[in-house]
């Protein structure tokens, strides 16, 4: 066989006119790409190790580095693309299932980009958010069927537990273990300051972070890692994770090298041993079993916490959501196929599940057709990239969105999609202390706050343009959307008209 499997996909380009041999690149690359030939005082690079995380590029003080896509090419073949060939070659060498991370990067349609937002002209004034109040507060939770009054005829507060958010955005489930302590601290502190929530993911809650409980959603997944009574009561809501958009139908796999002492203690799993969450919950083989878990968790927390059920967006999502709405759950969270992950089989990530826009539209329509939309709140995730996506998701019918990838990008992630290796150069998806310290939460939480505030301002601007001054009037307001370049069936599923109609 050949000396190596294939030519590297990415090449390190070093401008020798600008390189001062400060060796920052070498020190900052956990993959060992850069090295110094000291006798010649020149830097070298091993392209084959490069994951294109951009760490060296951005820390190089003289901007002497860039990473480019290799122009080495196979003979043109529109059927056997480079990716298909290379992946096959890896599998022929290793005999392994391919692993990758973050969300589905393939060229499926992005419906958010084919929806455009309305604005007021003449017949209805737009509202200036700098001069008028612009409200983005959202409550998540079930709404009771009837209003009750006391003896004096005054309305009684008969609402089940609700989550109160200053804006319709939360940080989605990312476990301690898959991401670092510092990443969790950044998310928790930002959520607390913003008046929103972050989600622990399935790895338990580090004891240091119990103090952020008022802004924490604790997750219960099929592995039940880190789940105990105090944990359930530590947060403001409990999320049952049935599925994840990046890998519908399969469980999780946190490699042993990420299970360091603290992670092991938090997860309640042995140090160094892989933590594998099963594909299904083995106590949930049907919808009535889910209802039992929902009520078990409510019993354990004395009906003081709303229960969220998170599912991946799959073909039958509307019917499943309808079942969940009747299971006692307060909130349904739907994760689209663009949703991220710390590790997933590539074939699953790239081929299983459906776009969140279509899933959301069909779930919202279905719940309304069945008259049960008020019984649950709907939170969506998996592909929200900007405030415009948030506005579009809410107009399609979501109460709120979960942000995972967007939050990680704010913390430094550059989507190199190599989280599974555990050597994140940005200190996010790693447990190596030398790397973890690269994410200073004092910086991280401020960047998250900046991002959320910026998006909130943009949402307010767009709402004002539509003449809407409270986010609830945007929810499900599909007339505020039009499709561009969508076919009849897509428009029908999305429940929107085509632009010009």
């Amino acid at each position: 066989m050949a000396a190596f499997d294939f030519y590297p996909d990415y090449e390190v380009v070093r401008n020798l006119d600008r390189c001062i041999v400060c060796r920052v690149c070498e020190r900052q690359c956990a993959n060992g790409v850069h090295s110094c030939l000291e006798e010649k005082n020149v830097m070298l690079a091993d392209d084959s190790q490069c994951v294109d995380c951009q760490r060296c590029v951005l820390l190089c003080p003289t901007r002497a580095l860039k990473i480019v896509k290799s122009d080495n090419t196979y003979k043109q073949n529109d059927n056997w693309g480079k990716k298909a060939i290379n992946e096959l070659i890896i599998q022929a060498s290793t005999g392994s299932v391919l692993l990758s991370s973050m969300g589905n990067p393939e060229t499926y349609p992005i419906y958010f980009d084919k929806l455009v937002i309305n604005a007021s002209q003449v017949t209805n004034p737009s509202i200036d958010p700098l001069r008028e109040p612009m409200e983005t507060r959202v409550y998540l939770g079930a709404k009771p069927a009837a209003v009750e009054r006391d003896d004096r005829g005054r309305i009684k507060n008969n609402l089940p537990p609700q989550l109160k958010l200053s804006m319709p955005m939360m940080f989605s489930a990312m476990s301690y273990g898959s991401i670092s302590y510092n990443a969790h601290e950044s998310l928790a502190r930002a959520a607390a300051e913003l008046g929103i929530y972050y989600n622990t993911g399935e790895g338990g809650l580090h004891e240091d972070f119990y103090r952020y409980g008022a802004n924490t959603i604790v997750q219960v997944a099929s592995g039940r890692f880190g789940v105990h009574k105090d944990y359930l009561n530590a947060g403001s809501a409990i999320e049952i994770k049935m599925g994840q958009g990046a890998k519908p139908g399969i469980g999780g796999h946190l490699p042993g090298r990420k299970i360091v002492a603290d992670v092991s203690r938090t997860r309640m799993t042995p140090e160094g041993a892989d933590a594998i969450s099963p594909a299904p919950h083995h106590d949930i083989y049907s919808i009535e079993d889910l209802s039992q878990l929902v009520y078990s968790l409510k019993e354990a927390t004395e009906y003081k916490k709303p229960v969220i059920v998170k599912i991946a967006a799959v073909h039958n999502v509307a019917a499943i959501a309808s079942g969940i709405a009747r299971s006692g759950a307060d909130i349904i969270s739907i994760d689209g196929f663009r949703g991220g992950t710390g590790a997933a089989p590539t074939r699953i990530r790239d081929n299983v599940g459906i776009p969140i826009e279509l899933a959301l539209a069909s779930v919202d329509s279905r719940l309304r057709n069945e008259g049960i939309r008020d019984r649950v709140s709907v939170v969506v995730s998996g592909g929200i990239r900007s405030s415009a996506d948030v506005v579009k998701a809410i107009a399609l019918g979501a109460d709120c969105v979960y942000l995972g990838t967007a939050a990680l990008l704010a913390l430094g992630c550059h989507l190199c999609r190599a989280c599974q290796a555990g050597k994140c150069n940005w200190g996010i998806a790693t447990q190596e202390l030398e790397l973890v310290k690269r994410l200073n939460p004092d910086i991280g939480y401020k960047r998250l706050i900046n991002l959320m505030r910026a998006w909130k301002h943009e949402i307010e601007e767009m709402m004002g343009g539509m003449g809407i001054n409270s986010i609830e009037s945007l929810k499900g307001n599909r007339l505020m959307l039009r499709g561009v370049g969508l076919n009849e069936k897509e428009l029908e599923v999305l429940g929107v008209k085509h632009a010009g109609q």
Binding site: S120, T123, N124, K143, I155, G371, G467, I468, E472, K475
Partner: protein
Amino acid sequence: MLKEGQIRIPSGCAISGIFSRAGQRFGGRDIIKSISIMHERSNGLGGGFAAYGIYPEYKEYYAFHLFYDNDAAKEHCEAFLNRHFVIAQTSEIPTTRTEGVIGAPLIWRYFVLPITTRLSHSLLDEKEYVAKCVFRINTEFDGCFVVSSGKNMGVFKGVGFPEDIAHFYMLEDYRGYCFTAHGRYPTNTPGWWGGAHPFALLDFSVVHNGEISSYDANRRAVEMYGYKCTLQTDTEVIAYVLDYLTRQKGLTLREAAWVIAAPFWQTIESMPEEDRVVYEYLRNMFSSQLITGPFSILVGFEGGLMALNDRLKLRGMVVGEKDDRVYVASEEAAIRIIEPELDSVYWPKGGEPVIVRLEGGNQIGGV
């Protein structure tokens, strides 16, 4: 050309209303005068009136005003009415040829009560039964449209300037304790009579000036509760939201006003604890019924009238009082033209409902 129901058409408008607290019945002359002074706020593409207390001799019966495109539609619909209702009286609504009023449908009036056995088999309460029948006619019967369906009240509307519509229906001859009026300025020319305002369901009637930005959020919410927005107009959806909140959820009109034109959170936060809890509850519980964007509305109902502006007061609305009469209009001039010497004039704040009722009369839903 698409008509209302097939397309959403924004419009600007004039509204006016007169109410006698003492329940004195008066003729239609004043309301016609009031709405005509605001002639330039409408463009001849819609005018209409709601009148309360006009059918005392049939006050126990639901008064159905119907538009028919042709005799076949009428026959079809009457068969339906006969299956579901006892009809005490049927007549064509008297009209007179009026210049500028064209394309009138067949306009008929029925005084009806549900057939008792059918009502009890339906397991619905009486009003719900009547409302469901109205929805069926409006959605399933081509060329038929129920203009109003309340007791001791009726809606008279059409395509034309409001003063011409009044002349067409000979509105001066009707005597009631409350009139509301609407002159319409739609942004295109649908010319369909059913699309004119007021919009009415049971004894609720709504005239509205504005274009709400929350329309589809409100529409999709009320449609979930069984309402059918056949006209795609703001007025229709506001009527349904109010009907849902008061009739189905048991809110008082004032509470319903707090829902649809809710105070801002910053205002709610500064309220005394006891009030804060209620306002917060209402906004959370009925978040999909919040209405944003400009509106001024007059809601007529049995024994009362409510005026309400949107939370930012993006549309003008003036209230004047003289003795037992209460006047509400888009412009003060529309009040002064009929009552130059008012006891008081004021401009209600955004979101602050003005509710007037017959003295010692029927207190529907409490205050």
